[in-house]
Symmetry: C2
């Protein structure tokens, strides 16, 4: 006899880093799932798991998905194939699976690749989370967008000309994935006369958080550092 | 004798509508504040208050800020002046104030106008929240942005030519404040060959939520309805 009931895959946004920035809903569903999965760097460390470490119980089974964390243009398809198989077999057996996603599940996360493989076959519920863009704005005391502002979200990994084209006309921008691209981003913003308005945050909402003008930021930033800029200084300006 | 300790203003993102999409942190701080403030339509109804109604106790004092809810280009400065005075006198007396913000406090909210008036004079902490853009993506099962995607957030209230210029080159877009602008947005997306990829959500995460292709959406939408569109169909495409 196999189970009639399929398990549900819960894609849980766990927020930007502060464990208290998880939603009540994600915390409740995490507690109710017998299986907890999360992306992990190849060394095994998982930022998403670290955020909710205090909520995971010894009786919950864990699945670490070893995702290459560098700026690969192509996600490692075999990794997601294997993760989907492993998670799928839990769902097939009737076990609900919580898949932890730092920030929001559908905003530049790897969750979508597992979702894409399983959503046709199993029930899936996605629980949105607080994204790092909003967390950085809160920590900087810098309103992101007001009234008729256009906000553009760009990865710093884009070629310089593309970055410049996207930033030239926007009112506000969140520039993701700064990593090794800080000098390029500064050069673009300087040409657009926006550099004095750009602020930098790394590890937002964690004890190790650092905030500064982008002009003072390290040339090599953490991958998850980001810059916020508003043409008027802030949306209040 | 006046109190030496100033109260703290907490700008609390309460999320898109589902009461469980508040963060653990915002719920904790809300419970700890003797004063709770929120924007309210001129009739007195407050969406932000409704989201957290079950968390407000009779012993908490409430301050309703009567904000004009239509698409005024200029926020009603006198309203915010008066709200800042009322909240400021609580802070001056040493009382912490929770100011409720639907979605995220710094993402197209009215919180920033009170923040702008009080942040120089009193301690302020902003707690980011789940924004409706992420909630709509979750409810649609539509990943917003992946890898090197550029995401553009635009208010539908912009003039048609400006909307078209902003949407012409982006990979993905969230179009806010649809209200009376549905037909204009559809015309722009049709010219850009993006209309078939556009989806509509109103009252995301509430019991009254409605989701449909933007082609089927009502010509007059609620002010807080939004459309999501991705050039590839979704970020997974």
């Amino acid at each position: 006899m196999t189970s009639q009931r399929l398990g549900c895959l819960f894609g849980l946004g766990v927020g930007p880093g502060d464990p208290e920035l998880i939603t009540v809903k994600a915390a409740r569903l995490l507690a109710a799932c017998p299986v907890v999965a999360y992306p992990a760097a190849e060394g095994g460390d998982s930022f998403a798991r670290r955020i909710v470490a205090d909520l995971i119980r010894p009786d919950q089974r864990e699945i670490a998905i070893a995702v290459p964390m560098d700026v690969a243009r192509d996600p490692a398809q075999e990794v997601y194939d294997a993760a989907a198989r492993q998670i799928g077999s839990e769902l097939q057996a009737g076990n609900d699976v919580a898949l932890l996603c730092q920030g929001d599940p559908f905003f530049y996360g790897s969750f979508m690749y597992v979702f894409g493989r399983l959503a046709e076959h199993f029930p899936v519920e996605v629980v949105p989370g607080v994204s790092s863009m909003m967390a950085c704005a809160a920590r900087l005391g810098m309103p992101l967008a007001a009234r008729e502002d256009v906000l553009t979200v760009v990865p710093a990994t884009l070629p310089e000309a593309a970055l410049e084209a996207r930033l030239a006309t926007t009112d506000a921008a969140a520039i993701y994935k700064l990593g090794r691209h800080v000098q390029k981003v500064r050069a673009v913003l300087r040409r657009l006369d926006l550099l004095d308005h750009a602020r930098y945050v790394e590890r937002a909402t964690l004890a190790e958080e650092r905030r500064m003008p982008l002009t003072d930021a390290p040339d090599i930033a953490p991958y998850f550092a980001l810059a916020l800029v508003h043409r008027r200084g802030s949306a209040l300006g």
